[in-house]
Symmetry: C2
Subunit: 263 residues, 2 copies
């Protein structure tokens, strides 16, 4: 059985696991959320890099076949393609080719944390492959706390999304990247703030597609309703709202084991 | 010169320093913000206690005359009155007596982080001294990110405050504690969401009063406009928005030295 270690600053990276499960339902997932130090999105590149190394170092003990950095802020500092001789995937690279294929008017929006936007990594990677694409990056620091508060499909969240996305509407972006793994939780508010024609790209789906090509497997049928994934969740801090967040992402019936670990 | 070490999870505790400066303008303030791991407000009691001990341990090297825990979430785990033989003040105890004196209808509201509300420390301490007071505690997890986003006197912040404070209006609380050191930044939105007659109590002012009694000093005249405090700010992570936050709290002309430290 293929074993994959997935790392995120918190619980949002489970949206990536959810996408991977649709393509690789039989894999064994070990998920590490660094909840004792979350969020990474407002922190400096140096601090994020040191947290990334510490978390990947911790995961080595499970001897996985593949590592996934399921956090965009951490992915800005994950430049290597391998970790201890095993493939290392981040959630930024898979999005780049998809964006370039999808845009018709060469105007792409990226919404992400402050750390990801400040890194300018999306602009840099897209423009390295196609310098004619205008990339408008917008930090949305309130989206993670709104998702964690559970204010989904909420008028206040809609208002905040409308304000944050103003520059993307003004520039008439036809393709928008959800550049933080929490953001799929708020996808309805993001859609309301943009024109219906805008194509939204989420890291999880793009990564699943890239990994499907890499491992040359055919796509499995969608999980059945009562499918129980082989998923262990490790967290560096266990506060009461973590299991609520896990159920919000994976569904109420998904009762995964959660273990509190020290790095 | 009296030397005071002030510790907070982030930068919000500078609202407490601002209050202390009005009473003790001649003191030397060494402020430690644990910005690499902020916020504490959604984390567990065990993790918060271990961070508190690590931060106070770090500050011992400055051999201060007094320690201040200027963070309500950390204060829930700061039960001792001394640290290494020096007085240790938290920001919860000073508020308790003031609340009991001020309320006329025995209905008190407390707004704070999730960690502080879950600890029930305000209810417990108030009811130990006066069991007839009803204490309504309300977590406001979006207030810290709203303050950090700089959405002050903003219609969206007003709407969020109005929603959070609904139970306090319904119970007709006549006294409300701002139970997080970031909240004075949003005081106008909180005021708009409550009746004009409600008395707001902030930790910083209450602590300054308690310390004035403790050290038996008479109150100094208010700082002049161009007063330059002796204040060193140490942070465990230095991201670009930290100096913006410092200026938001202390004023644009306040140019304090900021040093990045490792605990």
């Amino acid at each position: 059985m293929t074993k994959v270690c997935v790392f995120d600053s918190g619980i949002g990276g489970l949206t990536v696991v959810k996408s991977l499960l649709r393509t690789f339902p039989d894999w064994h997932y070990i998920y590490l959320g660094d909840t004792a130090r979350l969020p990474y999105g407002n922190k400096s590149p140096q601090t994020i890099r040191s947290y990334l190394e510490q978390c990947l170092g911790y995961l080595e003990q499970f001897d996985p076949d593949v590592y996934v950095v399921a956090c965009n802020s951490a992915s800005t500092q994950a430049h290597e393609k391998e970790w201890k001789g095993r493939p290392l995937f981040n959630v930024i690279d898979p999005v780049i080719d998809e964006v370039i294929q999808k845009t018709q008017n060469n105007k792409v929006g990226v919404i992400a944390t402050r750390a990801t936007v400040n890194s300018r990594i999306f602009s840099h990677k897209i423009n390295t492959k196609n310098p004619n694409i205008a990339v408008i990056e917008q930090a949305c620091p309130l989206f993670v706390p709104l998702a964690e508060e559970g204010w989904i499909d909420d008028p206040i969240t809609n208002l905040i999304a409308y304000r944050y996305l103003t520059p993307l509407r003004a520039e008439k972006c036809d393709t928008v990247v959800l550049g933080c793994t929490h953001y799929p939780i708020l996808v309805n508010s993001v859609k309301k703030a943009l024109s219906n024609q805008v194509c939204l790209i989420s890291s999880g789906e793009a990564l699943a597609q890239l990994m499907q090509n890499h491992f040359q497997v055919s796509k499995s049928p969608h999980c059945e309703n009562h499918f129980i994934p082989k998923l262990d969740v490790l967290v560096t801090d266990l506060s009461p709202n973590i299991s609520i967040m896990i159920q919000l992402i994976l569904g109420k019936e998904c009762n995964v084991p959660i273990k509190w670990v020290t790095l």
